[in-house]
Symmetry: C2
Subunit: 293 residues, 2 copies
């Protein structure tokens, strides 16, 4: 069984991104990512801090905008409009989840599609769904990088995606089904009947259902590649912090069957934030009128 290491894939990618930052600097472009956080949810603060830290490490400027939980829709619009209008800002995102009185769909539409490095704007999501993506959402892009790096056969094979969210399940299923990747893709979800019937057929199983250690050996075909997108904190009195991190997959039970398996932590997670940086560089190149790969 091959462990698909996000750290291994990520370190190659980091070198590539650093070189790209240097190439942009040589042309007078300082790439910049703006992150807006509404409220003070500790988990969201941690995510934002990781994004800001990663940007700094790669030489990408970051703008960190913190707004109170009481921010009104109009105030949030105004903050986003200001960042949209700032030519020094290339990438822009608003950390989710938002406080209950704010609407994520409204925010997604307010962000300039040219700066929408999360690929949540319907225009960008439509380009993606039509097979002509400008930005590829970060976690799906990490999954693709993992499959490419470990040369997992995908074309013509059966990919089963567990989960239909607009952040992971839906876009990764679209991407792998399109020309180039050419997989036969099945999307399963909470309303699917007899899940093992589908998952046991998968050559590649992408698990993004958000349920801790829910997928076991009864779901996995021998020789499959299993991509675990889940990240959960599970109480564990035996650990110093009182919890441990796990995914959507029971790794010990699935490892004897799988030919490839992503660990949690250290699998897809570290790639997600790097792909955010990659999208920021892409936005900077697009804004500067430079060729993009």
């Amino acid at each position: 069984m091959i462990v698909m290491s996000g750290k291994e894939v990520g370190s190659a990618l980091e070198a590539h991104l650093s070189a790209e930052v240097a190439a942009l600097a040589a042309r007078g472009v300082e790439p910049c990512l703006a992150v807006v956080l509404v409220g003070d949810k500790p988990e969201s603060q941690t995510y934002v801090a990781t994004k800001v830290r990663t940007a700094q490490r790669l030489g990408i400027r970051s703008v960190d905008v913190q707004l109170p939980a009481s921010t009104s829709p109009a105030e949030l619009d105004a903050a986003l409009d200001g960042l949209n209008a700032d030519p020094a800002v290339h990438g822009l995102l608003c950390q989710l989840p938002l406080p209950g009185h704010l609407d994520a769909a409204r925010v997604a539409e307010r962000i300039d599609p040219r700066k929408d490095v999360d690929c949540f704007h319907p225009y960008n999501f439509g380009l993606l769904a039509e097979g002509l993506p400008r930005f590829v959402p970060c976690t799906p892009q990490g999954i693709l990088a993992m499959l490419r790096h470990y040369a997992v056969p995908v074309a013509g094979r059966h990919v089963v995606v567990l989960g239909r969210s607009n952040i992971v399940g839906r876009p990764v299923s679209l991407l792998l089904s399109q020309k180039g990747w050419d997989a036969t893709v099945t999307v399963c979800h909470s309303r699917s009947e007899d899940l093992p019937r589908y998952t046991r057929q998968a050559d590649v199983l992408v698990v993004a259902i958000g349920k801790p250690e829910w997928v076991g050996p009864e779901h996995v075909r021998e020789g499959a590649a299993v991509i675990d997108v889940g990240v959960h904190r599970v109480p564990d009195a035996g650990r110093p912090r009182g919890y441990r991190i796990c995914g959507d997959v029971r790794h010990d039970a699935v490892a004897p069957l799988a030919a490839w398996l992503t660990p949690v932590p250290g699998g897809v997670g570290p790639l997600t934030v790097l792909m955010l940086m990659r999208n920021t560089l892409r936005a900077a190149r697009l804004a500067a009128g430079l060729d993009v790969a």
Copy 2:
């Protein structure tokens, strides 16, 4: 075996649409569909004529713009801009295929998303892919109407879609996989290996691969619903016109297995043009600030 008749579903829908036209008229709104045709391809002329005739029959005004095959991209842009700017025009489409020197993606982006009754604009396609459609593309909408009318069980069942085009296969697979329809959906295409392995598992098989009479009994599970989206002219010396119309499915061979089957002609085809009218009425209601269902 139940024949899923587009004429039967369509006549109920026509009555509904006529009532809707009357309701709009009572509020002073005359719905209007503009159809742009570039060039004089006979098949395209036939499609446009059907759209114009159907609009007239339902009391929808139609604007029929014919441009020469030599029309430049800028000239086509100008024609579309004029129709975009005309408040009396609610729905706008450009008949495909375009002459080789014109780009369908550019045209799709030029049409005002509020008038985009084909749902080809990336913004509208993104809303659809995200599960919040403003317009539902016409043929997929006809397929949904067929499934609803004949009460074919879909939720939790396995839908297999043959074909991944942005006009039929992709959007219908997205729609049936989303909340509400809740099917487990597999998308197969020309690069899928061992197609019968997938199609024989289908409770609902949607065939949109564009190959005459390509799907046979070896692809169909007993008791399945089979939706045939194909329309082809096949040479047939025994017919008065020298050809016959067929679909992507070998109907005689599949009928003994299928529990539901759409005929060709008279299946999904007649619904597609009606759904275009339905989208036009929806666009008119949206433009007038009226509630939409």
